[in-house]
């Protein structure tokens, strides 16, 4: 009786298989066609790395990719630093004046449409007369992604057993020492996961970057976006495949880190 009631029905299996196929098939097709020798995207002309070489000879694309990687690395790093500090303030600061505003400011960008975030930051940069380029995009991405880092690190801090910090104090640590010697090592996996999330979000963004970048400093997504509007190009397939590979590496590292954190504490850092 027990088995019968809770066994998977054919319907369950079918919907699961179809669902996963729906999620993965387009990406798999994209990856396969990136190795297509033919210029026509949909005609199979045999395996080839031609479009990868094409990319590495495309100066503008390479510049855009380099710009994106720099923006992603720098903004993810600043965002991780600020987001972790914000998470500590929210998770351990108890009540303080301006707390509601603080958490509101950190949660709003999570639900704010990107067009609005981008627009508002551009208006600020224009008003400040800032030259638009690497730093404006980096600041914009930091502002958005630090909110995600805050959420990830804060939930880890909230699930952390508070008696560990008390034990550290009981054994002679002042609060700052207790944080550095006990809390910080335990939330490192969550911080790492936060960094990777920030990195991929930055690498992904086209809308905010379009608003906040200046002439001559397009990011990779902006370039892909403008190419895609003109139609499908096999070179784009190759670029997309490389981005997917990069993100896959990041995911593997992140999941290893979260596994590490789950063996060290009560719950894994949410990805």
């Amino acid at each position: 009786m027990v088995r019968q009631v809770n066994r998977m029905s054919p319907f369950n299996v079918t919907s699961l298989v179809l669902g996963l196929a729906f999620l993965y098939l387009p990406i798999v097709i994209l990856v396969i066609y990136s190795f297509n020798a033919s210029r026509l995207v949909t005609v199979w002309g045999g395996w080839s790395l031609r479009w990868y070489f094409e990319f590495f000879n495309d100066r503008a694309m390479l510049d855009a990719a380099w710009m994106s990687l720099r923006v992603a690395a720098v903004s993810a790093t600043i965002a991780t630093l600020l987001g972790t500090l914000a998470a500590v303030g929210l998770a351990r600061g108890e009540r303080f004046r301006g707390r509601a505003l603080f958490s509101g400011m950190l949660y709003a960008p999570l639900v704010m449409p990107e067009v609005i975030s981008g627009l508002s930051l551009l208006l600020l940069f224009v008003a400040l007369n800032a030259e638009r380029g690497f730093w404006t995009v980096t600041i914009a991405h930091t502002t958005l992604t630090m909110c995600f880092v805050t959420v990830v690190v804060q939930s880890r801090l909230a699930s952390l057993d508070r008696s560990l910090e008390e034990a550290a104090m009981d054994l002679g640590c002042n609060p700052v020492q207790a944080f550095i010697r006990v809390t910080l090592p335990l939330i490192v996996p969550a911080i790492a996961a936060g960094w990777m999330l920030a990195f991929t979000l930055s690498l992904d963004d086209v809308v905010i970057a379009s608003f906040t970048t200046g002439p001559g400093s397009a990011t990779l997504p902006i370039r892909i976006y403008s190419e895609v509007r003109l139609g499908v190009k096999p070179e784009i397939n190759a670029i997309c495949t490389m981005v997917i590979a990069l993100i896959a590496v990041v995911i593997v590292i992140a999941s290893l880190a979260s596994k590490l954190s789950s063996t060290q504490g009560k719950s894994a850092a949410p990805l």
Partner: protein, 304 residues
Amino acid sequence: MSARRIFAQPARYAAIAPYLWMVLFFLVPFGFVLKISLSQTAIAQPPYLPVFDLAEGWAAITAAFSQLSLDNFGLLASDSLYLSSYLRSVVVAVISTLMLLVIGYPIAYGMARLPQRWQPIAMMLVIVPFWTSFLIRIYAWINILQHDGLLNKVLLALHVVSAPVVWLSTDTAMYIGIVYSYLPFMILPLYATLSKLDASLLEAAADLGASPRRAFWLVTFPLSLPGVGAGALLCFIPILGEFVIPDLLAGSGSMMIGQTLWLEFFTNKDWPVAAAAAIALLVLLVPPLVLYDRMQRRQLGGAN
């Protein structure tokens, strides 16, 4: 609570830097949007009046206030372009959310009924595409949906259609793109509630004479409603402000509000109207956000 109080002071100092950052790069820019939405258009750089000049102090502030106008909002309300894009955003978000529910529920349900050790793997499989760039995922669909793309080839080979169908630049393509992009947002909250459901409830239902189908509609589905609500709102809210997917996949006939904003800003260079459209979009987001917040609170209250 004094052990916590001992920690609280240094923790508050930690919050100072991110606090200042968010005030400077979130709150202040937002103030600019509000202010410029109330300004006049100008053919200048930047293309709006009046320019807020802090150097002139209070006089400038009062002067600025005296020049504020609601004209841009008046334009939004009177011009059918804005009204229709407003309406279209809501319609697209509602239809997409319903489609996501119908497609996402069986998948989440299937995941929840997997043997225990397979469930984390299934969850990982659903999350991974979310990490992949959404631009790439949309591009992947352009590959498939284009005139001589894979979909048309398959349909032709199966003799379902006799001539290639136009998929790109249609609402169908847009809905496919939206459903594809937001599916993980729907599946994960649904799976979270369904997997927490006590298996013995279904056994009890069977014991009391309910067929599996009746047990699903009488027990499983009502208990999964919090997940349905969370998933629906998690999709509905960002779809309202969506720009890239309709821009790349839908036709140019009618626009969502995000597209209108983009058009006003980049093409028409009418920053005040774009800012007003942004405010209007935010107003549109408030009711679902309030609803979501209330649902989360109720669930937290129920858990305690």
